[in-house]
């Protein structure tokens, strides 16, 4: 069995009476794309926030590369190898595309406590930044403002920033949304090659994409993981669950 890079062990998180995470256990193994699916309000976002450290679980543990990070701040988890892309782009929109990736390079390799030297003249950071842009195909957009990018290009920039971190794992929140058919296909191919560098925990709504791209799938409903396995396994289980859940809009995709 492949090495486990991210391990979520039995975490619980409640908001009042709502069980957002109900004994969730999840593994991300080296080399895989692991998709997390579930209807809106199932607790996907809450789970991501706990993995990133913006929310703290009430019980349970989160491990990155074997190290318990449950009590660590977000920035410390990133330094241990976590990279995330946001569902709603969280870019510095007033800055250029290059500056956005440079920020990643500063965080990963440099130090933000350099006050005098011009950072764009730093060859080492710039190489890291430009390589990341080149890999997602945004290099010729480097001097544009991030705000001027199209919706899909912003997604690519999100991925580029994550690449600069050279992480142990990627956590991608709907990286295909709004990309269009050809864009999504390109991104799918890119992620398939990327997962050999570092595994990807993928949150995605489009079931066609999920079944096409994911090595394993976990289904989260009402804060509980009700099934984990290959597309085939999950389809079988999900068909059973559909009977319980009825038609809630997403079951149709199976």
């Amino acid at each position: 069995m492949a090495e486990t890079v991210l391990s979520v062990r039995d975490i619980c998180k409640n908001f009042g009476a709502l069980r957002a995470s109900d004994h969730v256990t999840l593994d991300l193994r080296r080399g895989e794309i692991h998709a997390l699916i579930g209807p809106n309000g199932a607790g996907k976002s809450t789970l991501i926030e706990q993995v990133c450290g913006t929310l703290k679980p009430e019980s349970g543990k989160i491990l990155i590369a074997g190290q318990d990070v449950t009590q660590l701040q977000t920035a410390d988890r990133v330094r241990l190898g976590l990279a995330r892309t946001f569902q709603i782009s969280a870019l510095a929109l007033e800055d250029t595309v290059l500056q956005n990736v440079l920020l990643g390079a500063i965080g990963a390799q440099g130090s933000p406590y350099r006050f005098f030297r011009n950072v764009t003249a730093n060859r080492q950071l710039r190489e890291v930044a430009e390589l990341a842009l080149q890999r997602v195909g945004l290099l010729e957009r480097a001097e544009m403002l991030a705000a001027e990018l199209s919706h899909g290009e912003k997604r690519q920039l999100e991925v580029a920033v994550a690449l600069t971190l050279r992480p142990r794992l990627f956590l991608m929140d709907e990286p295909m949304a709004g990309l269009g058919a050809s864009g999504a296909a390109k991104m799918t191919a890119f992620l398939r090659s990327l997962c050999h560098e570092a595994p990807i925990l993928l949150i995605e709504h489009d079931m066609d994409i999920v079944f096409a791209i994911a090595d394993r799938i976990s289904v989260l409903v009402y804060g509980k993981i009700i099934a984990t396995g290959t597309a085939k396994d999950v389809r079988a289980v999900a068909a059973v669950r559909e009977a319980y859940l009825g038609d809630d809009g997403w079951g149709d995709n199976f």
Partner: protein, 328 residues
Amino acid sequence: MSRETVVNLVLLGSLLIVPVYARAVDDPFLITLSTRVAIFALAGVGLNLALGLGGLVSLGHAAFFGIGGYTAGILASHALNYAPLIDGIIVINGSRSMPVIWVTTLIVSACLALLIGALSVRTTGVYFIMITLAFGQMMYYFSISWPAYGGEDGLPIAIRNEFPGLNSLDPFQFFLIAYAVLCVTIFLISRLQDSAFGLALNAVRQSARRVEMVGIATFRLRLTAFVLSGMITGLAGALFADLNRFVSPSMFSWQTSGEIMIFVILGGTARLCGPVAGAGMFIILEHLLGGISDYWLIFLGLLLLVVVLFAQGGLVSWLAGERVRRHG
């Protein structure tokens, strides 16, 4: 050279030409006004680092302006009385030398900013505004209730402090000192804006979670910006004390915080020389409108309302012919 750079050079050039002209026609009052502009601009440059670049809307920067003023005043008064500041195992004497006073001011303001910042930078938005305002008010009341250095009456500085090689008593030479400090600070800030720190701070204002997600702890980054910002505004306070040869609790008042913020906004937030334009405009308005009516602050209020409601971006953006994009 970008249009903003041209505007910046023109602004700094004008600020130099006015007192040169004033000296030629022997108008010391105009020189003093120019010195006020330079010092207020310096205070604004300090706040602009926190507010414009870091998005930290501090309404308590009077705390640093005041502590700078009192540091200068207290050191000078001890030096003039030949009474040591601390008399014990270690003896620390007062000083009348501006460089010594400045270094002390920078250290003292940094400590105060670290203390206030550690408590306030953890919060954001409206909490941050209210807390910085409250801590500014705390310093105000403390300065009133502590009688050793004049309390409510303030503390006079009998003779302006000295700068090696210059005659600081000459208004023009004192202007040059303040102007040089302003220019050096603006140069350093211009470097900082393009540095790794500037890039990260700029990003924190736009998307704090993005910065956290590249492994940079935003609290420490913001706190550093707040401390640097407080140090610059503190230095302006020390110069202001020397300009007036007097410090009083009003340097700590919330109006002072509000005025420093006005310098920044009138000129344009995050604009390198915005505070120079803003402070210049403030002083010009004070004298144009103040000549017409004793109640000129009403007109300043109306002008400020118009700027906020209809003309975001400030004077430098207007001159530089472009608007800064703003986000919620």
